[in-house]
Symmetry: C2
Subunit: 398 residues, 2 copies
Amino acid sequence: MKLSQRALDIQASPIRKLMPHAVKAKANGVKIYHLNIGQPDIPTPQEMIDVYQKFDDKVLAYGPSQGLEVYQKSLVHYYEKQGIKLDISDIIVTIAGSEAVTFAMMVAANEGDEIIVPEPFYTNYNGFATMASITLKPITTYAENGFALPADEEFEKLIGPKSRAIMLCNPGNPTGTVYSRAELERIAKLCKKHNLFLISDEVYREFVYDGLKHTSVLEFEGMDEHIIMVDSVSKRYSACGARIGCIVSRNKELMAATLKFAQARLCPPTVDQLAANACVYLPDEFFDDLIDEYQSRRDLVYNELMTIDDVVCIKPEGAFYIVAKLPIENAEDFVIWMLNEYRLDNETVMAAPCEGFYATPGLGRNELRLAYILNKDDLKKAMHIFREGLKEYRKIKG
Amino acid sequence: MKLSQRALDIQASPIRKLMPHAVKAKANGVKIYHLNIGQPDIPTPQEMIDVYQKFDDKVLAYGPSQGLEVYQKSLVHYYEKQGIKLDISDIIVTIAGSEAVTFAMMVAANEGDEIIVPEPFYTNYNGFATMASITLKPITTYAENGFALPADEEFEKLIGPKSRAIMLCNPGNPTGTVYSRAELERIAKLCKKHNLFLISDEVYREFVYDGLKHTSVLEFEGMDEHIIMVDSVSKRYSACGARIGCIVSRNKELMAATLKFAQARLCPPTVDQLAANACVYLPDEFFDDLIDEYQSRRDLVYNELMTIDDVVCIKPEGAFYIVAKLPIENAEDFVIWMLNEYRLDNETVMAAPCEGFYATPGLGRNELRLAYILNKDDLKKAMHIFREGLKEYRKIKG
């Protein structure tokens, strides 16, 4: 039986495909420091766990397709605290950020249409685009200038009759790059000029360091028709298993259409929504502590990277990832070698090769993404092993 | 800003669009018996609620994309009890039946391809097909013979170069029809002959009455390449808000591709999976009691319907729906009239007009779906109001 072309085409997770090597190493008793995945180690807030523990509805029933009203209202409150004024009808609760991105793509673009995305980008955008039969047109950004957004002319080279949207991730996964207000305003104007939607993935919106303030595209005026924001509680509250996100737009027609997509799948998980709802009312210190912790981890990883010769990396200002260009040819080969061959006191490190984050073939082969989702003691050990491993690898392979 | 064509095309929920009339009636203090939705009233098993209440992981983390292994293993056990032998790699846990249907459609068919579905069918198949840019080709079934499957020749009239699958819902929503083993074997053979996938939606698999036994397509031999089964815990355990389902196939290549779709959205909700897992080990009496209850409700609704002149309806053998052809022209108009005009002791009834369950324009206009998801006292009152309302409506409109 022949499968559909999209089933054949869809990208295998470039990170998960290396897991067998990790499994083998673990089976041999090797400890692996996982810097390869975006699973935070920070405890999920007790306020959230409490909601599960207190759940006692008689019937675990369907909620509304747009999300529980109590949670929609809390989200209005959440965004308002950040200076973003919304109506509850501007928000549809989704099954994590994944579904929000899928809805955004589908409501903006038809099969065969194009969405322009700065690369490197979150690999799963590929999967959602393949499912929706949409083509992602990559616009390359570079480690040398901290993966800054390219000039308008570069975007305009890609904008054609099939272009429907520009999609940004801010702060960026995998880059950790935080776009400035000026850069974002420039892209917003470009979208207006060319009649494109601007899809902004802001799931790391809190994860911004050095006293910077995150700019949401929802803050821009006169752009309501164009702006679609996607969000998620996964990283924010260390609640990746809750599968709660949202899609936000003040474009009423777009939200009406999105609601029809949402109605088809009935509703997001009920208890998880109640749990996410409790998180909206966490004290501000929760984020103060969180950001302090991640910022010091970022500093640690970045400073350790800077002790290695010939690494190209501008200190990223957000998310919890660093992309480093390494003085080797093939980062995937290095990762596999670390898992299969290299041990320091029977420990090794796993990172994510960046090639899978690029849509342009061949790019990113010498880049790695490091996720700083371990405590600082472990991170310190991991970075030591990483540096020593890289030194050894270059001796053997270089 | 122009939305995508699929955003414009996607069907609005034909049931939810009547909600404003219900909201208005309720605001006026009218009690509505809801026979319009498939939200069971049966309590969610305490064993399931207990899992939420005992959840105390430090970090609510991502699970594997294919589902938690403990739950996959439990599902193997669940199906084995019903004589269906599976390997855990034959099962991917999905975000409810909705996602399972979406994955099944996408892995089987490309944009522009066709899937043949007996109508009336579950309306949300339309939404999933629109999102995936797949065309559903309806094959009409009729109230007069209990919505039995049409002859092979009728299917073969629809099978063409773009046909990729036949999709069945068994027991049927909205029809309540249970397909016999012989009927299913005939369709399976047809799929084999024409190189089609057979997608079987079995979310109501337990809801079979009169001592009949449900036949799963997974029981057929020599069909492993063709068979895709979709399932959900929503109805089975009155756990619609948990959003846990699964897709099952012994076609290894198909499951490998489906896993890539699943990896794109990372994972199903973690706590809900643990809760669903507990349900697999409920004592057999749980279902014995459940089926007794639903069967007696079905008898009640069916017998009440039979006291009304000119109603066409064969007693359905499964799910918790009855479709009745009424001696009126427009069932939607009747439902709206019941909500807006008709009261008996300040109470009325809401049912689901069937037109939205047909893909062929104009069909089902005089049919209603009644969901027997209320206790028998309420059902008895509801059916009395329904009968009296219909009598009155026919006097006025007929």
